[in-house]
Point group: C3
Chain length 165, copies 3
């Protein structure tokens, strides 16, 4: 897809493109294909995980802050090399994809997510819920996140925020 | 959209319209734009929140019962003016939108929802899950709920049912 | 729909067909229309529920294993006749439907699910989350599962896995 094609998609087709994007994105993470995760972002992307309270007050403090695709790659390397945490599975559910409008060729979209954590020999529990606030562009023929801010509802920072959301 | 357009949408396009409607609806509530919430309903709407046990047995008892858009507006005023409850965030996930058929220009649709509650300084927990049983019409050029019944799976009425579902 | 129609659906229309299928499937189960559930499967289907650890290691042990539609029917008979367990409601949320490709007329698709359990006089809790790994075909004019493997994230087998996922 070209940027021009993207920009002129009718709303219903645009919704389907976004559904495919979010499905692929969470599928990639849920299946722990972490090395593929940075490819969902542009080179100069912004990726943040931030508590809603901070986000709404405009406070700069973020739980995660990656200011380029290179940072994302570093994160993955760190995840793969670190083993100080207990093994766990994260499952992400996405809902309520909303198209918020265009700035040039950049689409602003939002979606709700719920993430579940399962530790070995423990039952699954709700881990983190919140909203994706995304800027989406076409790059290299596919949809990519130029910006992805994961705004989570809790004020508690989960100390087990090891994997991306 | 006109009622005639709505009534004649092919099934796949109808599904996309409903996905957009439910996304906008839960987005509105999750972002706490409560003043916009009544606009998703017709003037003479019926909005109910009811335990599944009561619903299936045909018992009239409802946890919430609003018999017009005016009631919904009153609810919002009450929410905004009341501060006897602890601040909390609710996040709603919607899934499994099902088209159940038409009665004239009224579409019956169902969807499953899961709502999560986050109190300040607490972890997120599952709050309420259930099914939307909706009657949808076109009014003023957009889709609106003529009837929305939130049938929740629990028999326990959450005492913190402060915000709409 | 014919197999030929199915095979040649454009990606966006295929996605909508799958969304309708998963919505109908979970709706059928959530509304406890269990007798309709086997009709979502081909006669010689494979239906399995298996812990992710076992699945990824290729271990054969499954929590449920039904090797034909007849087995599914037997399951339902057993559910309806058994009353040794406490009454409960299960609600299923589906997300991230991914189209993985074709082998002849068989479509491989995946989706994430989260199931919630509500016992009478108890609050709703997360019950089981995981991934559907499905083989889908056209049979008798509608989409059916030739294979459905429910791979759940936990290593703990919920002793209350009474109803299908």
């Amino acid at each position: 897809m070209s940027g021009e094609n993207f920009r002129t998609l009718p709303p219903r087709e645009l919704r389907l493109e976004l559904e495919a994007l979010y499905a692929d994105y969470t599928g990639c993470l849920d299946e722990e294909r972490f090395e593929d995760w940075p490819d969902f972002f542009t080179d100069d992307c912004l990726y943040k995980i931030v508590p809603r309270e901070n986000f709404e007050r405009g406070l700069p403090l973020a739980t995660w802050l990656c200011e380029s695709r290179g940072y994302l790659l570093d994160r993955i390397t760190a995840i793969r090399k670190t083993s100080v945490y207990a093994p766990r599975r994260i499952r992400r559910i996405v809902s309520a994809i909303r198209i918020h409008g265009w700035t040039g060729d950049v689409l602003e979209a939002r979606a709700s997510y719920a993430a579940y954590e399962t530790l070995i020999d423990e039952l699954t529990r709700v881990f983190n819920v919140g909203e994706y606030r995304d800027q989406i562009v076409v790059s290299g023929g596919r949809l990519k996140f130029a910006e992805k801010i994961c705004v989570f509802d809790s004020q508690l920072v989960p100390n087990s925020l090891i994997y991306p959301l």
